[in-house]
């Protein structure tokens, strides 16, 4: 598909319709049924965790959190193609992909509870931390790509950014460097139609994002990001393309941020219920469920049981995270440099002296 796709003309690549029925099986990803069901279950788990995180936030048990609701197929497809040695360079809204790369849900909770530890992901291989400054992480991806090529390794980088992020200069520079260096980076833009309150049409006057690949001389493709099968095929082809030394690829995954921007945001201020309803019909999990059900691969009883199981698993992990030890003073200083400079040591000692005084007067 990637080869056939003409960013100046082709329509968004889809395999299934909004109801999960195959539109055309000309291009179908290779994946066995078991794996397909597993992918679906992983997406379900991610959604469950996501929903529960939002409610933990409402309960005041966690700080600001950016929901992933509605974008799970993108992460689920990424999960299927990422190998152990491949790299994942996140923005901040790809929970399913982090989990697939080896991040633990507990770490993710710790992070949004306010511990840096939760962003260090010791169990994960080749996973960069969450990156908040929009689009800046794409340059890291290009650099990792260079290192891979330099060391002649069999690895690919998957780098994420949002539609809003494509407006930043760092997006441009990262794609340009990756293309000039011809390094293995798959750039995935989650075009979820909004950058906080700003709709996509105010972000750029171009016909979508995939076409921006022309500016860098790399292939691009616009794909229905809520269509798991199309997304999977695209990721398979893109990663294969990059892995075999052809340089970077730009994927525009068209989706919708069904939730709020973060838990501090109220989308009703800037978008209509009607619009939300239109997108409700394109929900990626529903579509995949329909497809799998039609294929006789799902059993609704089991699914109810699974969801129940997921909920209690998530909750158990969350409570575990909540019982994480307090943040020691030393941790503020300890990781600033490889060796702590005297100055920092002294600032810490002075603060400890103050704390002793404070204790003494109480």
């Amino acid at each position: 598909m990637l080869k056939q796709f003409d960013v100046t003309k082709s329509k968004m690549f889809r395999i299934m319709d909004d109801d999960g029925r195959i539109l055309s099986d000309k291009y179908m990803p290779v994946i066995d049924d078991k794996q397909l069901v597993k992918a679906y279950h992983d997406m379900l788990f991610a959604r469950t965790a996501d929903h529960m995180t939002v409610s933990y936030q409402r309960q005041g048990r966690i700080f600001t959190y950016p929901p992933n609701f509605g974008q799970e197929a993108i992460h689920g497809a990424t999960a299927q193609v990422m190998r152990y040695d491949d790299w994942l360079v996140p923005a901040f809204r790809e929970m399913g992909a982090w989990l697939a790369k080896g991040a633990t849900l507990k770490d993710i909770f710790l992070y949004f509870m306010g511990y840096e530890e939760g962003n260090s992901w010791p169990q994960a291989n080749h996973l960069l931390p969450i990156s908040v400054p929009i689009a800046s992480q794409l340059q890291h991806a290009a650099g990792i790509g260079y290192a891979i090529k330099f060391k002649k390794l069999d690895e690919v980088v998957f780098a994420f950014v949002g539609d809003g992020g494509t407006s930043e200069g760092d997006f441009h520079e990262a794609l340009n460097f990756a293309a000039v260096w011809k390094v293995p980076v798959v750039f995935v833009v989650q075009n979820n139609q909004f950058a906080i309150s700003v709709p996509f049409r105010m972000q750029t006057a171009s016909k979508g994002i995939a076409i921006k690949s022309q500016a860098y001389g790399m292939p691009g493709i616009q794909v229905d990001g809520n269509d798991f099968l199309a997304m999977l095929l695209t990721m398979q082809e893109a990663s294969e393309f990059s892995r075999t030394g052809n340089g970077p690829v730009l994927i525009e995954a068209v989706t919708y941020r069904k939730g709020a921007h973060t838990t501090s945001d109220d989308p009703s201020k800037y978008r209509s219920k009607e619009e939300e309803e239109i997108w409700e019909k394109k929900d990626p999990i529903n579509r995949l469920r329909n497809y799998l059900t039609d294929k006789g691969l799902l059993n609704s009883d089991e699914e109810a049981r699974l969801e129940e199981q997921y909920r209690s698993e998530v909750d158990r992990i969350f409570v575990e995270a909540e019982n994480h030890p307090a943040y020691p003073l030393e941790d503020v200083f300890k990781y600033m440099y490889a060796d702590m400079p005297d100055d920092l040591r002294k600032q810490m000692a002075n603060h400890e002296e103050f704390l002793r005084w404070k204790e003494s007067i109480q």
Partner: protein, 325 residues
Amino acid sequence: MKIMNMVNAINNALDIKLSEDPDMVIYGEDVGVEGGVFRVTEGLQQKYGAERVFDSPLAESAIVGTAIGMAAAGLRPVVEMQFCGFVYPAFNQIISHLARMRNRTRGRIGMPVVVRIPYGGGINALEHHSESMEALYAQIPGIKVVIPSTPADAKGLLISAIESEDPILFMEPKRIYRAIKQEVSEEKFSIPIGKAKVVTPGTDVTVVAYGAMVREVQKALPKLKEAGISVELIDLRTIYPIDKVTLTESIRKTGRIIFVAEEPTSFGVGSEIIAIANEEAFLYLQSPPKRVTAFDTIVPLPKGEHHYMISPEKIFYEIQRTVNF
């Protein structure tokens, strides 16, 4: 008079200036339809239209960069950087053009641009949302840096900033956006840039603060009074150019100076305050000028932030130690 918090007061200042000056425009990320992530510009697009108050694409460099062009062409842009941690993509435009255009053109092209920057910690935010890096900006020749500590000051200073022919970075202590409420006149008034304010007169020690830290110092005042220490609290209001006259007078009177800020200790505004104390009042100093400032570390995520933030207790503790030096 009306009860306003700082968000209301800033909104009111913007409203007054928009209604007065047809060449003023406001833009930035989410400032239009949504009225800003802190709701500071709420209602202004409805009132003045989407040509004067609008959302821009997500790119800080271009937000400042286009403001420079607009100013050169006779508009008066007031732009918002969403958080202090996201100004940096615009750093080149700020330091290389905004600060230099007037000098470069021998005064021919001035830069009446206001860059609003919510800054500072204490709101349990994500990474990059809590920094206090005002010294980075204060040291750039060609711009001015203003930080209000109350709703009324925010209004009066912002009106001055918008009317200034020079580029102003207007840093807003978001921690007290809604925490302080006071009566603020709905009429237009302005407070001069470059003048500090003596908040509480005193005789034993000069305490210099600004932004959210003024309130933290104030919280420590009753206990200090109890301890028999008379504090002269100065709100700097403008970080550059610093009001050395007010500072010097106070230090010469009290002989002691303590600087309180959220910023990291080294190479900060506090260093400059100490330098000024030395240059202007060396012979009057009875104890070493003291910085009660944050560690030279990155602001910890919320679970560690209490270690980092300056508390009234710490202010009390350090002031007492300085006075007893």
